[in-house]
Symmetry: D2
Subunit: 337 residues, 4 copies
């Protein structure tokens, strides 16, 4: 059986993770080419023995025999690259978000829909072992009817204000993962969003028109609810927890730690902080995510995260922005229609 030929576009932090996983852990595929706009990224290609390095996405698509592309380039290239890849008949994995404009996302998804290819979006947290376990408990009906979903999602520190200005802001850049998690874990559709935001971490973020602290209440179609709390800066590190409460019980997922030692001294009991940020915390999830992408490629089955998941998370993010701006709950239909 011949190997599936994969090309990777974009060799930033996430691109390098996917490249490493693809090269090391999946004998059923072969990375035949990588693309990055920076010359120095050729070194990365060499390190992983990838035979072809190019600097544009068009060149990448022109390479003979590529079956699938993994798109990890900056957000503003996602939509174009996905359209090009779909037109070229390549299977697609693309990092989230597809685009910050809902209309553009819809347009892209229509093109993909009409094409012969499938698209998977990089909501990696769905593949985290802690959260996957909770999802499984929900599916096994161990929790019963889901009534309340609680997501704690706090970063160890804010990105540069310059990045915040182009990222779409807290809700589209950071909370978007939590919006997807709320939908995924409950298996329910969101109908209304109420968000309160504040600038507590860095006034510069406020001057850039964004917030750095937020509480968001999502109402699902059946009136059950999710609540998310966000901060751009938890001094103790990356805080990623999940709790699902239902008619039969409650399940909690904890942070991940480098070790679980306890030290007892005269002054108290202490232990290590959680894994510091997403590269460490979600290391296993990135690998599983790629594994499920490859499995879907091989088997021809449905992608585990589809384009519509991306669309809805963006819509919820836009509703949250509108809710903060207008000081009122916003129906998702206001955004989607």
């Amino acid at each position: 059986m011949s190997k599936i030929k994969v090309a990777v576009a974009g060799l930033g932090r996430i691109g390098k993770i996917h490249l490493k996983n693809l090269c090391r852990n999946f004998p059923e595929i072969e990375v035949v080419a990588v693309m990055d706009v920076l010359d120095e990224s050729k070194k990365i290609a060499d390190e992983f023995n990838v035979p072809v390095f190019v600097k544009s996405f068009d060149e990448l698509l022109a390479i003979e025999g590529v079956d699938a592309v993994v798109i990890c380039s900056p957000t503003d290239t996602h939509a174009d690259y996905v359209v090009k890849a779909a037109n070229a008949g390549k299977q697609i994995f693309c990092e989230k978000p597809l685009d910050l404009s809902l209309d553009r996302v819809k347009e892209v998804l229509e093109i993909v829909e009409k094409s012969a290819v499938k698209l998977m979006l990089g909501f990696n947290r769905r593949f985290d072992p802690e959260f996957k376990k909770i999802k499984q408990l929900v599916e096994d009906d161990a929790i019963g009817d889901v009534q309340i979903v609680k997501i704690t999602s706090r970063d160890p520190g804010p990105p540069p204000v310059s990045y915040i200005k182009v990222s779409g802001g807290l809700f589209l850049d950071m909370t978007i993962h939590d919006f997807d998690m709320a939908r995924y874990i409950s298996g329910k559709s969101v109908k209304e969003v109420f968000a309160k935001g504040a600038v507590m971490v860095d006034p510069g973020i406020g001057e850039a028109g964004d917030i750095d602290t937020a509480i968001i209440t999502l109402t699902f179609e059946d009136d059950s609810m999710a609540v998310i709390d966000n901060s751009r800066k938890a001094v103790y590190g990356y805080d990623q927890r999940l709790e699902v409460f239902g008619s039969k019980g409650m399940a909690q997922a904890e942070n991940n730690f480098p070790n679980h030692h306890k030290l007892y001294t005269e002054t108290g009991i202490s232990g290590d902080l959680p894994l510091h940020f997403f590269l460490e915390r979600y290391d296993a999830s990135y690998n599983r995510e790629m594994s499920e992408f490859i499995e879907a490629l091989v088997s021809g089955s449905e992608m585990p995260v589809g384009g519509n998941d991306g669309l809805l998370s963006i819509a919820i993010g836009l509703a949250a922005k509108k809710s903060v701006a207008e000081g009122r709950p916003v129906k998702l239909t206001e955004i989607l229609n």
Copy 2:
């Protein structure tokens, strides 16, 4: 030194707890009389060797030498009894809430204010060792500026629908404790309330015009926030947790358990459920509460929970009701003015 003479009004569940603590744990006071409308409550008086048992509050106040009254009778008697006790010059401990009507509460507090007596309200959770520890960490600045307060407050099962009809509903009967906790733990004033509610536990509660599941976002004067989640029915028992997130760190208070054993078997690791309900969970808090009341009596110092704390919690509760009814955030000024 002569002992302080205390009389207890109302010998329901809470009344009996206060009576027991007063009789057993505080040698500096003496319970000289108890009052209850039911004849059979005389047995309780006898059990604790309380010399006088009466059936009306007026009789209780008429007893010679009573210094202070502890009011644990039904909610609809609180306002009247407090007014009578204040007029009679008795120091007052009264269970929450003072009344379901804000105007009546204001009226009563004015009377107390003008009187020579002090009033303490029974927000017992402030005296729980778990929450007191978190409060101390906030005061010690171990958490820094408080940015997010998270309160989980779920009952093991709903009260009878008949009770719900007269109790003022979820927000005034149950969440009122959480509103007080949010104010107490943060030391901040609430300026806005947004609440979403649903009927997930019992349709009868919905038919009675109330909700049984809720998420409430409180905005403090400085834009920091608190979020509360409530359910009338957690099948695993009483769930009372608190988390405070700030600029220097985060502190969590856990549920209380009958023991902390872990059992490892072929099928998993298991442990006991939390203490089932408030009588067990807040056993220590009731004792400490009474202890601080007596200390304030003895020393003449400020009461640790004042009438205004009751007023504000009721106002927040009314704002939450209005928020659910009108589907929008409600400013506290809308309620208070």
Copy 3:
């Protein structure tokens, strides 16, 4: 029904605890007299409204109508007082150990045996909620056949060397509780003892002929085992844990804490130390112990801890001493016969 009349001998730390529990928590009994050799202990009698205070045990026994005595005086008085009380026909609760001499213990137990009274010994840890839960799991066969019992027992600091000289040393003064726990939790007889000891905490303890650090392996009749580790000084406080491993699983009992908060800061996660010493840690156990003593008095049923339990724990302690002295395992029959 008339109340059982109890007299308490000895008002040191433990005596005061028992007195307080007896006075406050058991309406079915009445403390009619207390005895202590110190004049100033009369204050304690007054504080608890005990009508009679005497300074000798003979006077105590001479008081009309006393049904039971609770003996909390120094160890070297236990044997004499028990014999006198038995001869006077009083039911007896006595703190451990009965005596440091095995022959004297046997003699006393024979006298009690022939008398009309029952004797309960103060192995209070059997009544600790954490350990009781483990015992219940063993009895419910949740752990299966017990194969290994592990006891961690460390004090926050050593007693004065002067006390160590008269206490019988580590094994008879401190480990004796653990020997009883090993027997109680397993429900098995000990046949062999091997102990290693060291002086790690205070050279003065070594000079007094004792050790301050020890590991003891007990072999039960069926070859299953218990292991105990002791230290006179755990800088982090009182460390009292238990683990039982068997054919169906394993159960663990944890230390007790003043609260279970967790504080996350830039430098790590921290929490409070265990309750500092036995008065706090075993507070509940002292009360339950007295409760079961009273229950046995009232119902006339078997005492929950008998004289033989004291005898065997002392014998194991003597075997442990011999094992350290001779550097070899010691059969219990070498001690008992």
Copy 4:
């Protein structure tokens, strides 16, 4: 810089783990050949693109340019292979134990000593992140002088009796890891061993002359102690814990789990069992172990685990066997001289 050329001998469970790690995670080395006595192991070579597959160790050594060998073949081949590799001038990583005969081990170590090569032994648990953290705390003097080391080491199930017969028994096959851990974590020499053993799991193990349950007390040169408890069968899975108690505090290492979820239901709180056995539990340790071996190869520095570590663990194991057989503590000098 040219890559270090490594050959792997033996492709059983451990061999495959080392091969996978070597091929995937260390770009600085190249696996040039593998050897296994079974024909079908060639498939494994192919899977990892290893160019050369041979069936004898001599052939393996004959391959041009091999710098180092990783020996994972059965225990009874270790000594011969190490001698051959040393004579051939290849750097050596060898799984434990070197041999079951102390004389043979001494002989082999002398040959290695005189050769130009270095030998690292596979005590992988030293590289486990949980235990490494505790070691670091000991080295940082966070625990002070080590007084008691406690090791819990229980397997999920016994190996076949046929294996037990040739493995050297519990102490040389299983506890040997714990003996090494006691030495490693304390940094101290063992002077005396006392072991009690029992057959609690499978009478067949007893019939084969071995035990399946044991408690071992090690005395270090300075009289501080370690205690190890072993069982061949913990129904709840692989139990690998460590506790170090010292003059400044105490540190604990926990088991590893597939996730840390908690599920609260009507019947209790539950969570997942520890990772089932050594392949999962020590996955990270095998990788780090190989990483430190390669680092030592590259830098020419000391091997992190030397031949003497193997010698001493075997000697302690033999002392433990003798202790059980003779029912007395055994000095290590009795074994070593």
